[in-house]
Amino acid sequence: MEQATPDPERLWQPAPLEPLSHPDAGLESMVGEETKGARDEGPGDGTMTENNFSLKKIEISVSEAEKRTGRNAMNMQETYTAYLIETRSVEHNDGQSVLTDSLWRRYSEFELLRNYLLVYYPHIVVPPLPEKRAEFVWHKLSADNMDPDFVERRRIGLENFLLRVASHPILCRDKIFYLFLTQEGNWKETVNETGFQLKADSRLKALNATFRVKNPDKRFIELKHYSDELQSVISHLLRVRARVADRLYGVYKVHGNYGRVFSEWSAIEKEMGDGLQSAGHHMDVYASSIDDILEDEEHYADQLKEYLFYAEALRAVCRKHELMQYDLEMAAQDLASKKQQCEELATGTVRTFSLKGMTTKLFGQETPEQREARIKMLEEQIKEGEQQLKSKNLEGREFVRNAWADIERFKEQKNHDLKEALISYAVMQISMCKKGIQVWTNAKECFSKM
C-alpha cells in the first residue's frame, strides 16, 4: 500500500477523514457526499439510490492517448503517456449525450486512485488496472511501454477500469473518483489529504497476521486459496497462450514463403504457371491473415489478464479480513489475560507460575489498598477491552457481511464476463477457421486449374 508520493509533506499531514467540501455544487447529486457512509453502511443503502441513478446517466470514455514529455519530481526529463478522459451526461429525453468534462490523466494517477480505493474500501474487490508493463507477450508483440499497440490496449484497459468503478454500486459514489473524472488540477493533493496512506496496513503486519491467526474464517481461507489458484492457473494459461500464439504465427508466416516460391516457379512453367502464380497469391493472403487474428486474440488475453489481477484484489480482501481477525484475537487474548490477572489478585492465588507471583514471594504482600487500586484499574481495563472487543467483533461481522456481499457480486460478474470472453474467443477461432477454409479453397481452385 505504500505510495511513493512525490510529496512527503502531505503524506504526514493529519488528514480529515470526513469528506471534503464539495468543489462543484452543480454536480452534487452525482457524488456521494457520504463517502464514508457508503463505506460503512455497505450496499443496499436506501439513501444511495438517487446517486446511483444519476451516475448511470454518465458516459465515461478514455478516448485518446498522447505521448508527452515532462519533468518528474526529481526534475528529470521523462516521457509518459497521458490519457484523455471524457465524461458525458446523457439527457433524459432524447438520449443525446453532452460532453461535461474532459481531462488528461496519466497511468500513475490511475494507480493513485486505485490505491486510495483499496484503502478506503477494504471489503470491496476493487477492479484492477491494466498491466503496467506488457506481460505474457509473444515475440511479435512489443514489450515497449510506448508501443502504439500497447498504449492502445492500455487505453482500452483504463477505460474498462473506470467503467468498472463507475458501475460498482459502492465505488461509483466515491467522491475522489468523481473528482478524478472532473477535476484535473489539485486532484492528487485532494487524494493525499484524505490521508489514505496512513490507513494503509503495512505488509509486514498483514504477513504477521497471516501466520498468527488462530481461528481463521473458513470461507475466507477458501477464498484466499481460490484466488491463489486462480492466479496461478490464469498466469499459466496466459504463458502458454503466448507460446501458442507464437507458434501459430510461425506456421502462418512460413506459408508466406510458398507465395514467393510459387510465383518464382510459375515463371518457368507453361500450363502450370497461372495456377501456381495465383495460388502463391493466396498463400500470401494466408500468411498475412494471422496478424489480424492474433491482434484480436490479444483482446482475449487482456480479458484474462484483468481476472488475473482481480485475483490479487480478491486476496487483498482476504488479507484485510485476516488482519481484522488477528486484531480481534489479539484483543480477546489481551482481555483474557487481564481477566485472569484480576481474578488472581482478587483470590490471591497464583494458578500459574508468573513473574508477579515471584515478586510477591520475594518482596512480600502488597497492601490491600494497593491491591484494591490495581484490581480497580484492571477491571476498568477489562471493561474497556470488552467494549473494544465488542466493537471489533461488530466491525468484523460488518466487514464479513459487506465483503461477502461484494464477493458474491464479484463472482457473478466474473462468471458472466469470463463466459462472454470464452464465447468471443470461440467466435474468434471460428472466424479464423473460416478464413483458413476460404483461403485454402481458393488456393485449391488455382491448383486444380494447373
Binding site: V244, R247, W265, C433, I437, W440, K444
Partner: protein, 509 residues
C-alpha cells in the same frame, strides 16, 4: 524377302531401336517400339510413329534402295508411314503370333490386310503413281480402320493397360550378417513376355537398385525414374521404423509404376526378370549383355569437351531443370519447416488445452464452459496432428521424388551431350581429312544416328515427364489444400459445437 538381310545387317548398331530390331529378328518381339501408341492420344501416337520412323530413316539411309527413305521423307501422312513401318516388320517373319495384347490388336489387323503383303508392294504403292511424288492422301480403306482402332483404344485408356505391379507387405529379415526389409511385388499381366498371368516375388532395396542400374545401362537414352534415397537425408531415422518402411514402400511402388507406365522401359528384359525371377541373384551374377557397349562408348568420350552448339531445346531443358530443382528444394524446405512449426504448435496446444481443465476444477458455474474449451482445443490438436502426419507421409515424399527425378534427368542430358560430343569430334576429324575422302564414313553416320535417336527418346521422355509432373503436382497441391481445408473444418466444427454450450448457460442464468 529380299529386304530382310538389310535391316539385320544394320541392326548391329548400338542404339536401342537397333537392338530391338535385332531381338525382333530373333524372337519376333517388336513390343518395345509399339506400345507407346497404346497409351497416347492420336496425335501423340502419330508423333511416336514419326519418332520411330525417323529412327528408321537413319537406319535406311545407306540402303541401296533408298526409295523407302525418300518416300518416308516426302510423305507427310503418318498413317501411310505407319503402314510402311508395320509392313517393314511384316517382312521380319512370324511376329504376329506372339505379340502383346495391345500391339497385337493393331498389328494383327494390319497383317491380315493383303495390302501389307510385302515391303516392295508397299513402296510401289506409295511411290509409283507419280514417279516419286508424295502419296499424300493415298490411304486405303484399311488405314482409316486402323485410325478408328487407334481412337477406340485411346478412349479405353485404362483398359489398354496390360501390366499391373504393386509393392506391398514389407517384411523384416534378420540374418547373422545384416538386417533388411523385403517387399512383396505382385505382377499381373497379359503380356506374352510373362508366362504366367500373375507373379509374386520378394525384393529388397538392393534389388531395386540393381534394376535401376540395369535400366540405366540398357536404356541410356531414356529417363529412368528415381529410387528413394538409400538413407534418409535429415537426421538419424530408424530404418526399420514403421513410418520409414511405409514411406519407402510407397516410393518403391511409385518407382515400379512409373516404369510400368513407360512404353519402352516396361518391356525391358531386366524389368521382366526383376518382376518374375525366383532367384534374382542368379541373374545379377550373369555377365553383362551386349548392351553395355553403349555405356562404355559413351564413357570414353572426354567429359571436358565443349559442345559446338547444344540444340536450343536441350539447353532450355537444362536450364529448366536447374530452376525446377532449385524451386523444389525451396518448397521442400518450406514444407519441412511448416511441419516443424506445426509440431511445435501442437506441443503448445497439448499443454494449452489441459490448463482450461485445471481451471475448470476451481470453478462452479464456469466449470462446464471451461471444460468445453479444453475438449475443443483437444479436438483441434488431434486434427492438427492428422494434418502434419498427412503432410509428412504424402507431401514430402513426392517432392523428394521430383527432386531426384530432376537429377536423373540431368544425368540423361549429360549423356546426350556426350553422344553429341562424340559425334562432333568425329565429324571434325572427318572434316580435316575431307580432301582425301569425300564421303562421310559410316561410323560417323552411325554416331549421328545415335545422337538423333537419343534426342528423339529424350524429347519423348521429357514430354511424358512434364505431363506426369503436371498431373502429380496438381494432385499433390490440391491434396495439400484439401488437407488444410479438412483441418480447418474439423476445428470449425469443434468450436461451433461449444458455442451453444456457452450461450445456453448464459440464458439459463
Amino acid at each position: 524377302m529380299e529386304a530382310a538381310p538389310h535391316p539385320r545387317v544394320r541392326v548391329a548398331g548400338p542404339w536401342p531401336l537397333a537392338v530391338s530390331l535385332a531381338e525382333l529378328s530373333h524372337s519376333g518381339r517388336i513390343c518395345p517400339l509399339v506400345p507407346g501408341m497404346g497409351f497416347m492420344d492420336l496425335t501423340t501416337a502419330h508423333r511416336a510413329v514419326d519418332l520411330l520412323l525417323t529412327q528408321f530413316c537413319w537406319n535406311f539411309r545407306n540402303f541401296e534402295s533408298s526409295v523407302i527413305h525418300l518416300c518416308l521423307k516426302h510423305d507427310p501422312s503418318s498413317v501411310a508411314r505407319l503402314c510402311l513401318f508395320v509392313c517393314f516388320f511384316s517382312c521380319q517373319g512370324d511376329i504376329h503370333q506372339s505379340l502383346p495384347r495391345h500391339p497385337t490388336l493393331l498389328l494383327a489387323t494390319l497383317l491380315t490386310c493383303p495390302f501389307f503383303s510385302g515391303i516392295f508392294h508397299l513402296t510401289q504403292d506409295l511411290i509409283l503413281p507419280n514417279g516419286g511424288t508424295p502419296a499424300g492422301t493415298a490411304s486405303p480403306a484399311s488405314s482409316s480402320s486402323l485410325l478408328n482402332r487407334l481412337q477406340l483404344d485411346d478412349d479405353m485408356d485404362g483398359e489398354t493397360r496390360d501390366l499391373f505391379v504393386t509393392v506391398d507387405d514389407p517384411k523384416k529379415h534378420v540374418c547373422t550378417m545384416e538386417t533388411y526389409i523385403t517387399y512383396r511385388i505382385t505382377t499381373k499381366s497379359t503380356r506374352v513376355e510373362f508366362d504366367l498371368p500373375e507373379y509374386s516375388v520378394r525384393r529388397r532395396y538392393q534389388d531395386f537398385d540393381w534394376l535401376r542400374n540395369k535400366l540405366e545401362e540398357s536404356q541410356p537414352t531414356h529417363l529412368i525414374p528415381p529410387l528413394p534415397e538409400k538413407f534418409v537425408v535429415k537426421g538419424v531415422v530408424d530404418r526399420f521404423s514403421e513410418e520409414f518402411v511405409e514411406t519407402r514402400r510407397k516410393a518403391l511402388d511409385k518407382f515400379l509404376k512409373r516404369i510400368t507406365d513407360h512404353p519402352v522401359l516396361s518391356f525391358n528384359e531386366h524389368f521382366n526378370v526383376f518382376l518374375t525371377a525366383k532367384d534374382l541373384n542368379a541373374h545379377k551374377k550373369q555377365g553383362m549383355a551386349l548392351l553395355t557397349r553403349v555405356g562404355e562408348s559413351v564413357k570414353h568420350v572426354a567429359g571436358g569437351y565443349k559442345l559446338r552448339n547444344r540444340p536450343l531445346e536441350f539447353a532450355a531443358i537444362g536450364e529448366y531443370l536447374d530452376t525446377f530443382a532449385l524451386k523444389l528444394g525451396t518448397i521442400d524446405r518450406i514444407a519441412q519447416r511448416i511441419i516443424k512449426e506445426e509440431i511445435e504448435y501442437l506441443v503448445e496446444l497439448r499443454e494449452y488445452g489441459p490448463v482450461y481443465s485445471t481451471w475448470s476444477a476451481l470453478e462452479g458455474e464456469l466449470a462446464e464452459p471451461l471444460e468445453g474449451v479444453s475438449a475443443c482445443i483437444g479436438n483441434c490438436s488431434t486434427a492438427l496432428e492428422e494434418l502434419t502426419d498427412d503432410m509428412t507421409e504424402d507431401f514430402l515424399p513426392v517432392l523428394r521424388e521430383y527432386i531426384l527425378y530432376s537429377d536423373s534427368m540431368k544425368s540423361v542430358l549429360k549423356k546426350r551431350d556426350q553422344v553429341q560430343a562424340e559425334y562432333e569430334t568425329k565429324l571434325e576429324a572427318v572434316a580435316l581429312k575431307k580432301e582425301e575422302r569425300p564421303k562421310v564414313p559410316a561410323d560417323v553416320e552411325k554416331c549421328q544416328d545415335r545422337m538423333e535417336c537419343f534426342n528423339a527418346d529424350l524429347k519423348a521422355d521429357m514430354e511424358r515427364w512434364q505431363n506426369n509432373k503436371r498431373q502429380d503436382f496438381r494432385q499433390l497441391l490440391m491434396g495439400m489444400a484439401d488437407k488444410n481445408i479438412q483441418y480447418y473444418e474439423k476445428c470449425l466444427m469443434a468450436w461451433e459445437s461449444i458455442i451453444p454450450l456457452l450461450q445456453e448457460k448464459q440464458e439459463a442464468k
